[in-house]
Symmetry: D3
C-alpha cells in the first residue's frame, strides 16, 4: 500500500543486532551506501528481518536534515 | 564536528522548493537514489542551499523504518 | 509490503488543508478518535488523498509518548 | 498544561516490557485500537506506568504518515 | 498531566512566524539559549502562543542527537 | 560542517547509561538546564562520549513541541 513517506532506499540487510527492546539493523543500499535503522526487536521478529533480507529503508521527509560543506 | 546521527548520504541538490515556513529539498545521492528533506526555509537561506550544492542528507537511526517485500 | 512501523490506525480522511510545502490531513479513525498528520503537499497529490479517502495513519513506535493523569 | 502535539489517544496500558534503556508500552485505545510506544525505562518508572494505567498516547502531527489502499 | 517526554526547557516566546500550514516559534530559554520549534499554525492559534508567552519547549529524548567537538 | 538542524545546546555530559542497543546520555547545558538524549550505544563508543565530555545537544526544529501554562 502506498505510504506518504517520501524516502525509500532499496538494499540488503548486512547485520542485525538485537539486545533488549530495540534492535539495530544495518542496510547496504543498492547505491552502495550504508543506512542504520533502530526498530523494535519485536518488528525484527515479526518481519523476519535477517542478514541477507532484501528490504527498503524508509524515512519520512521531515526527519531528514541537510548538511553543507 | 562529529554527530551521533548514524546516517549521512552524500549527494547533490537537484531542487529546492520554498513556500512558507518550510522548504522541500531534493537530493540525488552519489549512489543514484533520491532523498527528500523537509527543513525550514530559514535553514535553506542560512546554509545557502541551492540547486547543485554538494550536501549530505543526515538521518538519526531511530527515524529509519524497514520495509520487507 | 510489511513495514516495521508498529502503529497503523485505519480511518477516513475528514479534511485536507494544503498551503505551501506542507499539508495537514485530518483522519477520523474507525475507533472514533481524530488523528492529524502533517505530510508534504506533494504526497497528498501523489497518493490522491482527499476528503473521504480510506487510509491508515501510520506512526513509528519511537515517536509515541505516554501521558499519565 | 496544554501541549502543541495534536494527537492524544486515550486508552489503557495492556503491557510494559522493560529491558535495558528503553521500554515498550502497549496501549489499547478507547476506540479499541492498539498503539505501541517506545519510551525510556526511566520514564516508565518516573510516571509509574504499569498494566492497567489510564494514559494518553501522544504524537506530534509531523510524525504521522498516511497510507492509502 | 505528566508526559514521558524527558526534555522540558522553560522560556519565553521571542517570535512567531506563521505562513501556511506550519509556524515557526522562537523560544529563549531561561538559561539564555535559543530553541526553535516548528508546529502547526493551528496549534499556535489553539494555544494562543504569541511573543512574550511563557512556555516550555518539549522534546522526546529519542529526538536528541549529540555532537562532539 | 553546518547542519540544517536549528537547535544546538552546548553543555557537559553528566552521565552515560549503556544497556543493550541504546544508550541514555544526560547533558547539563551551559544555561543550567538538563537535556536527555537517547542515541545508539555504537555512537557513544564511536564518538567517545563519557562523563565530562563537552558536547552539543542537537535537535531538528520539527521535533520540538511547545507547552503553555
Amino acid at each position: 500500500m502506498p505510504l506518504s513517506a517520501r524516502n525509500r532506499l532499496a538494499g540488503t540487510v548486512r547485520s542485525v543486532e538485537t539486545d533488549g527492546v530495540m534492535a539495530e539493523v544495518e542496510v547496504e543500499t543498492d547505491g552502495g551506501q550504508s543506512v542504520t535503522a533502530v526498530i523494535t526487536s519485536n518488528s525484527v521478529e515479526r518481519l523476519g528481518i535477517e542478514e541477507g533480507s532484501e528490504v527498503n529503508a524508509v524515512v519520512k521527509a521531515t526527519e531528514v536534515m541537510v548538511e553543507t560543506e
